[in-house]
């Protein structure tokens, strides 16, 4: 790792629901252009950590920074809302269940936020939608409604929707977990393309092969702590921790069955 200032900086993140500690003092630094995968069993806190970055799941302790801006600042409600709405424009997020807006066409899904928040004209917003859809290979479906798309297509549109805000970082929360196996690859291809364009990405995933081929760094989380982290070739080929080995072994057995 370089000693450059981190782009995304999570410092001593803690999160608890009542007496249940979901995140126990986690720190994570991500450099600009870096791609980090977070893996681990369900309930390990990996999604919670990801969702803390844009404050969808606010932390109970610790700080999250994007460049020079603290995301989870303590502010009075109104000021905080204005602040977080601004910050979130810079953080794209892709969900497991796509969360496309079913009452809007593909075009409407993509242009909604840029028109509302960046006050683009209709023509500008359309051009933007076309550009982003071209990138994810969905331009021919611009006037479709989400209900007529396959899961893989929906997720590609969801990625285009996030990219249309020109985010500085992209968060992927198990973006391929809800997809039929034959549809996973088209989404992975889009994510690879983003990687080649040096988009900063933090990816919660169960796709070990994808994590290994695309990511610069892998975190293995379990029970609210980072058990082990390192370059993918180390984590996947030569994990040092017993829990990491167990998890990967089980995962391999699971996917070979």
């Amino acid at each position: 790792m370089t000693d450059q200032k981190p782009f995304v900086d999570i410092r001593n993140a803690q999160k608890s629901y009542g007496s249940l500690e979901v995140l126990k003092d986690i720190s994570l630094q991500v450099q600009r252009g870096q791609i980090v995968a977070i893996i681990g069993p369900s309930g390990s806190g990996k999604s919670t950590l990801l969702r803390a970055i844009n404050d969808l799941d606010p932390l109970t302790g610790g700080e999250v920074w994007l460049e020079d801006m603290q995301i989870n600042r303590k502010l009075p409600h109104r000021q905080y809302e204005a602040h977080i709405n601004q910050v979130r424009q810079d953080i794209g997020m892709v969900f497991q269940h796509f969360n496309l807006f079913p009452h809007l066409s593909v075009r409407g899904n993509i242009t909604l936020a840029p028109r509302l928040l960046k006050h683009l004209s209709e023509a500008e917003a359309n051009a933007l939608a076309e550009e982003q859809l071209e990138k994810v290979g969905m331009l021919d479906r611009i006037d479709y409604f989400p209900s007529r798309l396959s899961g893989g297509q929906k997720q590609r549109v969801a990625i285009a929707r996030a990219l249309a805000m020109k985010p500085k970082v992209m968060l992927f929360d198990e973006a391929t977990s809800a997809l039929d196996p034959e549809l996973v690859d088209e989404v992975n291809q889009v994510m690879k393309k983003l990687a080649e364009e040096h988009m900063t990405m933090i990816i919660v995933t169960h796709e070990m092969g994808f994590a290994e081929s695309v990511c610069d760094r892998v975190l293995f989380m379990d029970q609210g702590v980072v058990v082990e982290e390192g370059p993918p070739e180390v984590i996947f080929r030569d994990p040092q921790n017993e829990r990491t080995r167990n998890f990967l072994r089980k995962h391999l057995e699971g996917s070979n069955r």
């Binding site: 969808l56 997020m93 496309l100």
Partner: protein, 215 residues
């Protein structure tokens, strides 16, 4: 059955039906306004507003509409609220049905998947923008039919204003019974006209429901 009598008096019932329709339309509009405000209060971030919304719903649903109406019309003057019968009917019934509509509207809004709000907020939309552009358009589709049920109940509920002498369908039946001593015929005419109003409204709701589903 005395058909000849029925034919002779039914024009007066048609006039009364117009009053029932007018009463229903105004009550529905007031009810929708109360329902929208009530739902907004019940879903508010502020606990005081949530409490007010909950109190409104439980007070109204916990007491008979007839008592509410009497309280307003007969009890109102005692505390300085002087209303003519028709206005008291619209306000009493509108505020009453508004409590049921509050629950209908709230239910439709919370039925929209939480992921929709999350996706909108993640893009940078404010709470209100997410509500207006993403949640409410989807909730609107879910609430057409249940609001139709509320409106059906409200139309039949307009009969409750007969005791405070609004000259609508039920009152008119009672009045003509007084002079003809033919309750069967008179209630048959009123009942048939209620049915026509409800039938037409029901089809209107079904039509609207189909429209919003296609859009």
């Amino acid at each position: 059955m005395d058909f000849e009598l029925m034919l002779r008096v039914y024009p007066f019932f048609l006039k009364a039906a117009l009053v029932t329709i007018e009463l229903s339309v105004l009550t529905a509009l007031l009810g929708l306004a109360c329902g929208a405000l009530g739902a907004a209060a019940r879903l508010s971030r502020l606990s005081a507003l949530r409490w007010i919304g909950a109190a409104y719903v439980s007070l109204i649903r916990g007491t008979p509409a007839l008592i509410q109406l009497f309280l307003l019309y007969f009890g109102g003057p005692q505390i300085g609220i002087q209303l003519d019968a028709f206005s008291a009917g619209v306000i009493g019934l509108g505020v009453n049905i508004g409590a049921y509509m509050t629950e209908t509207i709230r239910g439709a809004i919370v039925a929209v998947d939480k992921g929709q709000t999350e996706a909108a907020r993640t893009l940078g939309l404010s709470r209100w923008q997410a509500m207006r552009k993403v949640v409410i358009p989807q909730a609107a589709r879910l609430m057409v039919r249940p609001l139709g049920v509320n409106i059906n109940a409200l139309i039949k509920g307009t009969a409750l204003v007969a005791p405070i002498s609004v000259i609508e369908l039920t009152y008119t039946a009672q009045r003509y019974i007084g002079s003809t001593y033919k309750p069967f015929e008179m209630f048959m005419i009123s009942g048939a006209l209620y049915m026509v109003i409800i039938y037409v409204t029901g089809h209107g709701v079904a039509w609207l429901d189909r429209r919003v589903r296609i859009a």
